[in-house]
């Protein structure tokens, strides 16, 4: 078994998870394919390169899953095509090769490492990054930085990407969009609906004080989430009468 310095590191795609120090690293002929992070005294088990299919089987057994940024970095490594075939690699990791996916991988490769790590950590998929393809580099940098700064859940991050990309293309300046929260972004993206929602939520209706109501948007519908407690049929009847009255007024004001 040879040691790490005997091998080249051209395939170093900066995998997110570090290779365990207790396990020998692996190489494909003279190229290391894991354990890039390990010290120079680390032993390396060498596989002779046979063909691209074999390399892929080996890679898949070492890394059962790779994120988009990891794939982007691997594909962009200088000796990638000597060892792997791009379409088979993507297929092995459950992606469909397409010009759009290639664009996304290029985009990710050119993003800073913080954003790459964020995409890896949140497991953001290619379709969720498509809106970024429609921006020039400066705006793309702005959006990715905003997403990093907001540090939200995957769902909210993906929403933020699309909202910001849309708003920039709708001629909003990045200065206006900086540091806005999701609600503020939604108000800018959906001004008509926001104003309708505000007007509905502000509608004065004769709610009983025993009914807790909260204005809510649920998909394409806006309305009130209501909650009440009735301890007797009489109480329930009273509340039902109040609700009928509210419905009548709401109808008149609609």
């Amino acid at each position: 078994m040879k040691l790490k310095p005997d091998f080249l590191m051209d395939l170093d795609f900066k995998p997110s998870n570090e290779w365990p120090a207790s396990v020998p690293a692996l190489a494909l002929s003279n190229q290391l394919i894991c354990g890039f992070n390990l010290s120079s005294h680390h032993p390396v088990f060498e596989h002779t390169f046979q063909n691209q299919d074999h390399s892929l089987i080996l890679l898949k057994s070492i890394y059962p899953q790779l994120t988009l940024p990891e794939l982007a970095r691997l594909i962009k490594s200088p000796v990638f095509s000597q060892y792997f075939e791009i379409d088979s690699l993507l297929k092995a990791y459950q992606y469909h090769a397409s010009p759009e996916l290639t664009e996304i991988l290029n985009l990710l490769f050119n993003c800073n490492s913080d954003f790459q790590n964020f995409v890896s950590f949140k497991k953001i998929g290619p379709q969720e990054l498509v809106p970024l393809l429609m921006l020039d580099e400066d705006n793309r940098i702005f959006v990715t930085q905003e997403v990093l700064n907001a540090n939200e859940s995957k769902q909210d991050s993906v929403k933020r990407i699309e909202l910001l990309c849309d708003l920039i293309q709708m001629k909003n300046t990045t200065e206006c969009l900086q540091d806005l929260n999701q609600n503020q972004l939604l108000q800018l993206r959906h001004p008509v609906t926001t104003s309708r929602d505000q007007s509905l939520s502000a509608t004065s209706l004769p709610w009983s004080s025993q009914i807790k109501k909260k204005f809510k948007r649920q998909g394409d519908k806006a309305g009130f989430d209501i909650q009440f407690f009735a301890g007797t049929p009489v109480e329930l009847n009273k509340l039902a009468q109040n609700l009928t009255k509210v419905a009548q007024e709401w109808n008149l004001k609609a």
Binding site: H96, S98, E100, D166, P191, V192, R196, R217, D220, K221
Partner: protein
């Protein structure tokens, strides 16, 4: 519209078809190529925006091996949408026109437009269905995944279909188009059970979103020609698109219809608002940018997994347009396309089966095809 085609590929198996003959008469030799396989058939994935654009300009004349006749996609969502018993006969796919909201952008995967050359087989299939159900009022449209008439000067399929349907007077043939291509079949009128229908929109929306289509004037002019020749006509005000002056612009559209046509001359008017599959939005933004009423629209997840306007805005738009017609005359027959029972009730205060003029259209029919 056929002259916008850049290349006509003829499948070797279709070389002797009538459509191929017509293509050779119409197009110069350098535009025609006989091929053994479908062009760009190596593309086995979703099309890119550029490939989708290219597919509109290249056509492949080829036989179809699948089933031509089927139910409208709306019928598969009966639990959430009211279904109007529409059936479709697909005689090709893709459309030479270029509407920004077109659902084919998320539906088609073929890198080339297609005309199916084996229409006789389609008619045999249809005959089997029609012979066993000739007493039921089925409606069959040819405009689901291709405009019914835009390429008709090339195929002349309208003529075969109109003649075929004369044998089944209870059945209705419906062409649906945004073109003005009707001259090729007018001599076959009068025809009681052929409805030539137009998808109409406000002039402003047509200019901004319905690229390469006939103008409103030309569509209405073609509809008048059809009426004069003895065909029924129908109008689909679909998709109604929200924009700053929508009330003014749709008032103008309805006024154009109500001044040029009588309610009795128009078989039915359907209304629908903008809707599309969520996955389609990226393709639309790539192809049309964000300077479009469609890509800028405020859309929300709705029934049937589609994106739609806010429900109260939809109701307002439906009610507004509906009232424009009804204030003109109570005799206009109007229905909502692919809408939920809730929207029906808030617009019409009734479900379709409670409206006498729509009962026949929405009465459940046995499943065929």
């Amino acid at each position: 519209m056929i002259h916008n085609l850049e290349k006509i590929f003829i499948d070797k198996r279709s070389v002797n078809s009538e459509v191929a003959d017509r293509a050779r008469q119409i197009f110069p030799k350098n535009k025609i190529e006989i091929v053994e396989n479908e062009p760009w058939s190596e593309i086995k994935r979703n099309l890119t925006a550029e490939e989708f654009d290219r597919s509109k300009k290249n056509i492949f004349l080829t036989p179809f091996d699948g089933q031509f006749f089927k139910r409208c996609p709306g019928s598969t969502q009966k639990k959430v949408l009211n279904c109007c018993n529409y059936h479709v006969l697909n005689l090709g796919s893709q459309c030479p026109m270029n509407c920004s909201y077109c659902y084919l952008q998320s539906y088609l995967n073929s890198p080339v437009s297609k005309i199916f050359t084996n229409i006789d087989q389609a008619l045999s299939e249809l005959k089997m269905m029609a012979d066993t159900n000739s007493h039921l009022p089925f409606r069959v449209g040819t405009g689901e995944i291709i405009d019914s008439l835009a390429l008709d000067p090339l195929t002349l399929y309208s003529r075969k279909l109109i003649s075929f349907f004369t044998q089944y007077p209870k059945w209705t043939l419906e062409f649906k188009t945004k073109s003005d291509q009707v001259d090729q079949f007018l001599d076959l009128g009068p025809s009681q059970n052929t409805v030539v229908s137009w998808s109409l929109n406000a002039d402003y929306v047509i200019q901004k979103e319905e690229h390469g289509t006939a103008s409103l004037n030309d569509r209405l002019g073609a509809a008048l020609k059809c009426i004069q020749a003895g065909f029924s006509v129908a109008f689909h005000l679909d998709p109604l698109i929200y924009h700053t002056n929508w009330q003014e612009n749709y008032t103008e559209l309805v006024s154009r219809i109500t001044t040029q046509f009588l309610p009795e001359q128009v078989n039915v008017i359907s209304l629908g608002t903008l809707r599309f599959q969520p996955e389609q939005r990226h393709m639309m933004k790539k192809r049309f940018g964000l300077n479009s009423l469609v890509t800028q629209a405020e859309m929300f997840p709705s029934e049937g997994a589609k994106l739609r306007y806010d429900a109260s805005l939809r109701n307002e738009m439906f009610k507004f347009v509906y009232n424009l017609f009804k204030n003109n005359s109570d005799r206009w027959k109007i229905f909502l396309c692919m809408e939920t029972p809730e929207t029906w009730i808030s617009t019409f205060e009734a479900q379709p089966l409670q409206k006498p003029e729509l009962k026949d259209m929405f009465r459940p029919l046995p499943s065929i095809g």
